[in-house]
């Protein structure tokens, strides 16, 4: 089985974030980076499938030069080789465009299975996986906890709310978005790290992907970052008085007209 794992490098959890002067992003140069958590679980799931059924795991990552360190971490854990879409010269935060880029790279590989994390811990969209599946024309399911090979396809366990699970069967090729915590993650061993030096990281340019810069530029995006801000702390409490009926009416009014939750 040939499996492609899409991996994003994100700021280390609990990083101190400093917002840029134009309030549209954070200062990246002072941050430390790591593999996005659910992508790490996707990689673990892929490695386990390979160990059980044979085949190859290919890591695909888009980002500037710095993501090579995370790619090497994946190679050290047992991934065979990696594809790196180097976007040193353009940035996109739009999952629609990101998925287009990833899809172009994946099409060249024709894998049996594509795994992504459920969502990126930085932007938190949770969109890239599903959109990518659409671009590739693959069946897709998300919040996947377990993957099993079944005859001709795969059987997966999805996590629903409130302790419920769902079992889904899909034909191959397919795309799955993997939930964090689905497996025990492995460490990169020292030997793995040394061996990773010899593994291939293929750098892909826009030309390699058959895309033009204006197709992937942020200016082409339907997504705008208007303002990024630290959640504002406001302390406001209002205590309603009266009988339960009155209180409920007041509460419903507030929720509807002030908090606008429905």
């Amino acid at each position: 089985m040939k499996i492609i794992v899409c991996m994003k490098q994100v700021p280390v959890q609990d990083s101190l974030l400093k917002i840029t002067d134009d309030n549209t992003w954070v200062h990246e140069d002072e941050l430390n980076w790591e593999i996005n958590e659910s992508d790490n679980y996707a990689m673990e799931a892929a490695l386990r499938l390979k160990e059980e059924h044979g085949g190859e795991v290919v890591l695909l990552s888009m980002g500037p030069d710095r993501v090579k360190e995370s790619i090497k971490q994946g190679l050290a854990k047992g991934v065979e080789r990696a594809l790196h879409i180097n976007n040193e010269d353009f940035t996109t935060r739009d999952p629609f465009i990101n998925a287009k880029l990833l899809a172009a790279a994946i099409k060249q590989e024709s894998p049996d299975l594509v795994l992504t994390g459920l969502q990126a811990d930085d932007t938190g969209f949770g969109q890239t996986g599903p959109i990518l599946a659409e671009y590739l024309g693959l069946p897709h399911t998300s919040i996947v906890m377990e993957i099993e090979k079944s005859n001709g396809g795969i059987k997966v366990k999805r996590e629903l709310e409130g302790g419920w699970f769902q079992s889904v069967e899909l034909p191959l090729p397919a795309l799955l978005s993997i939930q964090s915590g689905s497996n025990q993650l492995r460490y990169a061993t020292i030997k793995g790290i040394m061996m990773a030096k010899k593994k291939e990281i293929k750098s892909l340019t826009l030309a390699d992907l058959g895309l033009a810069e204006d197709e992937v530029d942020d200016s082409n995006s339907s997504l705008n970052f208007n303002r990024i801000f630290i959640p504002e702390k406001t302390k406001k409490a209002e205590i309603f008085e009266g009988d339960p009926k009155e209180i409920a009416a007041k509460l419903a009014d507030k929720l509807k007209n002030e908090a606008k939750v429905f």
Binding site: K68, E69, Y187, T189, I190, K191, I193, M194
Partner: protein, 389 residues
């Protein structure tokens, strides 16, 4: 406990290779996930968590700077960073790995026969076997050259008599590297667990390095095969070469302990409020302590890094290693002491780390050459006048 943030004021990270950083991060993650949840309990019990040994071996942390025989052949800086991360957990954890790698595997690798290397190194690297290093005796610590343990050559092999004390990993060990006096001077020997006439005894009552096994080794007419001598050992100098390896690891290791204390003290000082609603970090005297730590840790990091570069180039001498061991342990101990003070009464509790590191570092400043012995080594180096006796 908040997640550990390392100190890197001079952006030393940028001079590390991707591999060095990956190795450092792997060990950091391992220590966070597997060791930190255990340390308090094992420190209280006065035991090393030996269930971790196979995991440590699997990761490749034992003898990682040696070549071949299942070892990774890492450079000096990656090796140093491993020590740093282990000792950020606890000096006992780093001591376990230091003894196994620098004091057991290194001498077998450097002074052993091919059969000895093949028999022991892969098992020791994998954590399938544990080793210890017996040099110190009850009456000979700083002056091991005076040792009384003897090995007598007989027609059946070597007959060992004597006692070693303060031996890390002793009771856990499958193999002991033992230094003994022979007719041709001091030589190293491999003594296997279970050999008749060889006994290990746990030492109790330690108030320092509690999460580590410290033992006595007793030899009473202990007969070992002729082939168990390390053939290339040529006197006390061979034992001292092992110590140079271990001291190098300590110079890095204690940076981990110091950074753990600094990190804890800084966080505490920012959160603890006394007098007029201000955090104690806003007081000049507290800032002075934090700045001392920042200053000394940063200098010590640069010392370790440059020493590592010299070592990789084959240019580090034992006096340079002495200077780094002496300086870095000293500043780590001072850092731990100041951190403990910043934490006030909380600082004496084992809910926090400072006191544990402080107590541990009292061992580290004593073993592998006391602080003062390193002063004498350096004094002798620069004056040409040894002042040991």
């Amino acid at each position: 406990m908040a997640k550990f943030q390392s100190l890197d004021f001079y952006d030393i990270d940028s001079s590390l290779s991707d591999e060095d950083r990956l190795i450092r991060n792997t060990v950091r993650e391992f220590v966070d996930n597997e060791f930190m949840p255990l340390v308090r309990e094992y420190y209280r019990k006065g035991e090393f968590p030996d269930q971790l040994i196979p995991r440590i071996g699997e990761l490749g942390l034992l003898g990682s700077n040696l070549n071949g025989y299942g070892c990774a052949g890492l450079g000096a800086i990656a090796y140093g960073l491993i020590n740093q991360e282990l000792e950020r957990g606890d000096s006992g954890l780093r001591s376990f790995a230091s003894v196994q790698g620098s004091l057991v595997m290194y001498p077998i690798h450097a002074f052993g026969s091919e059969e000895q290397k093949e028999a022991w190194l892969p098992r020791l690297a994998a954590g399938d076997a544990v080793g210890c290093f017996g040099l110190t005796e009850p009456d000979f610590g700083s002056n091991p050259g005076g040792m009384r343990t003897r090995a007598e050559k007989t027609s059946d092999g070597w007959l060992l008599n004597g006692a070693k004390m303060w031996i890390t990993n002793g009771t856990l060990s499958d193999i002991a590297v033992v230094w003994a006096r022979t007719e041709d001077g001091i030589r190293g020997f491999l003594v296997e667990k279970g050999t008749e006439g060889f006994e290990t005894k746990a030492m109790h009552g330690k108030l320092s390095l509690r999460a580590s096994a410290t033992s006595e080794l007793l030899f009473e007419n202990c007969l070992i095969p002729e082939s168990n001598m390390l053939p290339k050992t040529t006197g006390l100098g061979s034992a001292l070469k092992c110590l140079t390896q271990a001291r190098y690891g300590i110079a890095w290791g204690v940076l981990g302990a110091a950074m753990a204390c600094y990190d804890e003290a800084l966080n505490y000082a920012k959160g603890r409020v006394q007098f007029s609603g201000k955090p104690i970090a806003s007081h000049q005297l507290v800032q002075e302590k934090l700045v001392y730590m920042l200053n000394e840790i940063t200098k010590a990091q640069l010392l370790a890094l440059q020493l590592g570069k010299l070592k990789d180039a084959g240019k580090a001498n034992n006096a340079q290693v002495s200077l780094a061991k002496r300086n870095n342990v000293h500043i780590a101990l001072e850092t731990a002491r100041l951190a403990r003070q910043i934490l006030g009464a909380n600082g004496i509790l084992d809910d926090y780390q400072a006191m544990r590191h402080l107590c541990n570092l009292e061992t580290v400043i004593t073993y592998e050459g006391t602080h003062d012995i390193h002063t004498l080594i350096l004094g002798s180096e620069i004056t040409g006048l040894p002042a040991f006796s």
